[in-house]
Amino acid sequence: MALDPGIIFIGDLVAIFSVYLIINLSLNLEFGFGGVPNFGKVLAVAGGAFVMGTIPFMVFGMLVDYGALEPVDDNIMLVHQINAYIEAHPESVLGVFAITLIVAVAVGGLLGLASAYPAIRLRGDYLAITLLGFGEIIRIIGINHTSLVGGTLGISVPDMLAFVPNEYRFLTASFVLLAFAGVIYLLVARFTKSPVGRLLRATRDDDLALQTLGRDPVKIKFKVMMLAGMLGAVGGVMYASYVEGVVAFGYDRLNWTFLPFVMIIVGGMANNKGVLVGTFLFVAIRKLVIYYNDSLDGLLPFDIIWLDYLALGGLMILVLIFRPHGIIPERPQKTESLEKG
């Protein structure tokens, strides 16, 4: 099947943009609004992806007779069998995917809660170290606990869009992801425009003052980390189902913690539009770099994959020094918008 490279480019751009938008919105909720610097963002994302790597097999197991096949050991064959089932029974996808999402949301919330528990009472620097550590641990577990998501080799997951004719399948995936991201964007925007958004920004600005005004910052931080964990896990599910696989190695600090931080800081924190802009900018630039990989390769004296690290690290430092408030700086809500009853 031959799709036009331009369409592949745009479709992939839209899909990756949607995944990152979901994750960045969740990071923005906890960090930009709530002030909890979750340097272990990858934890929730990987959690969601791992759910995508396990739950569908279990649920389809109730519908399809696996025989002696095991999800990890006989991965390819099993996925093939399930995909065939999906083609025949498209309606099954709705249920399976919904169950997967629900489980992922629960797992993400629990992971948020678990990482919040030791961390939330700690000072800013200890908090950072602890959360970072959580992010590293899940990767270690994913890589070494082979029965979970296939260890170093990874695992393929059933194609939830296997019922869509091949030539539309790719664009449909991008569209579904974009729709999901769009809905989540609208919900988050609505959420942060409500008094909760104000409450979160106040927690971030001065939790002691907030405490003397009758709110419990610890509880608020717990809640926001849980919520962000849930959303992060949704992002993980989306990504895993888009690439139709889970490889634990891929859930590293650069891609799923650091990059989201860069995106929201460059775009503008505590500002959903800023997140939108920042996310689009970076996904597009990275896509372009990969697209023109071959022509760049000759120009650079080194392997192109390291450019990512150099550019993102360097850019982040420059932004922190010269434009710490991002492209669209945070603005408080105008009184007029509060007045409308």
Binding site: L187, R190, F191, S194, P195, V196, G197, R198, L199, R201, A202, R204, D205, D206, L208, A209, L210, Q211, T212, L213, G214, R215, D216, K223, L227, A270, E330, P332, Q333, K334, T335, L338, E339, K340, G341
Partner: protein, 249 residues
């Protein structure tokens, strides 16, 4: 029944006894002034009563109910609000938003946030109330400014506005007129007098006696972590203990 009673409150930092058995009984619906030299324990008293620091001993009771050592947000829920000497405000929030933060709202629930029906009208009425207060404090034109964009005096006014929004029974102010010019200082105290009519009780720490004594209804004097004297404002300065501990021998 007594409103707020502090009895034998003790708090020490390392070897330093910042509070060494402080005892006082607030006069309801009055301006209670708390004075004393630097380091006599005034701020420590407020910090301990408001739950910022857990006391090492003693009791704080509100209408006979023990509220000793409760966390600050619980103290607030019991109807005691406080301000800080260096005003604490939310730097990323506008003046209006700062005002709205002074009182918990139903819309702050994570669950209700997406259902505006459940909080929109309350939010609107709070906004209206805040607008009225800001107007009376002549801060209305600044309502959408960030709190660091306004002057020190205006911030002191904002603090006062927040106490009005919070609507608590007892208000503890830590140096409400520090660093404020005399005209504004008088204005602030006049406003406090006005708020008093709503049935609240004030406990105010203030150094600038020339202004504060004018407005106080009752004065407590602290020295070395204890309340060493209390009297009516016009008599307090004649007290020998007070002169010794406060003005230097």
């Amino acid at each position: 029944m007594n409103l707020l009673t502090v009895s034998e409150l003790r708090k020490s930092f390392g070897g330093l006894h910042a509070l060494d058995g402080a005892t006082l009984d607030l006069h309801p619906n009055k301006i209670n002034l708390l004075i004393g030299a630097n380091g006599s324990g005034k701020s420590t008293l407020i910090n301990t009563v408001s739950g910022l620091w857990a006391p090492n001993g003693g009791r704080v009771t509100l209408r006979g109910k023990d509220i000793t050592g409760l966390p600050p947000h619980r103290i607030f829920e019991h109807g005691i609000m406080r301000t800080f000497q260096i005003p604490k405000h939310f730097a990323g929030l506008s003046l209006m938003e700062n005002m709205l933060m002074a009182h918990p709202e139903p819309g702050e629930s994570f669950r209700k946030a997406l259902v505006p029906l459940q909080w929109k009208s309350y939010e609107a009425s709070q906004t209206k109330k805040a607008l009225g207060i800001l107007e009376s404090l002549e801060l209305l034109p600044l309502r959408d400014k960030l709190s660091f964009e306004i002057s020190g005096g205006q911030i002191k006014l904002l603090e006062l506005g927040k106490t009005l929004m919070a609507d608590t029974e007892i208000i503890m102010l830590d140096e409400p007129i520090a660093g404020v010019n005399p005209t504004l200082a008088h204005k602030i105290f006049k406003k406090i007098k006005e708020i008093l009519k709503g049935g609240v009780t004030f406990l105010i720490i203030e150094h600038r006696l020339d202004i504060a004594l004018h407005y106080a209804d009752y004065v407590f004097v602290m020295g070395d972590g204890r309340v060493v004297a209390h009297d009516l404002p016009d008599r307090i300065l004649d007290n020998k203990e007070v002169q010794e501990s406060y003005l230097g021998k």
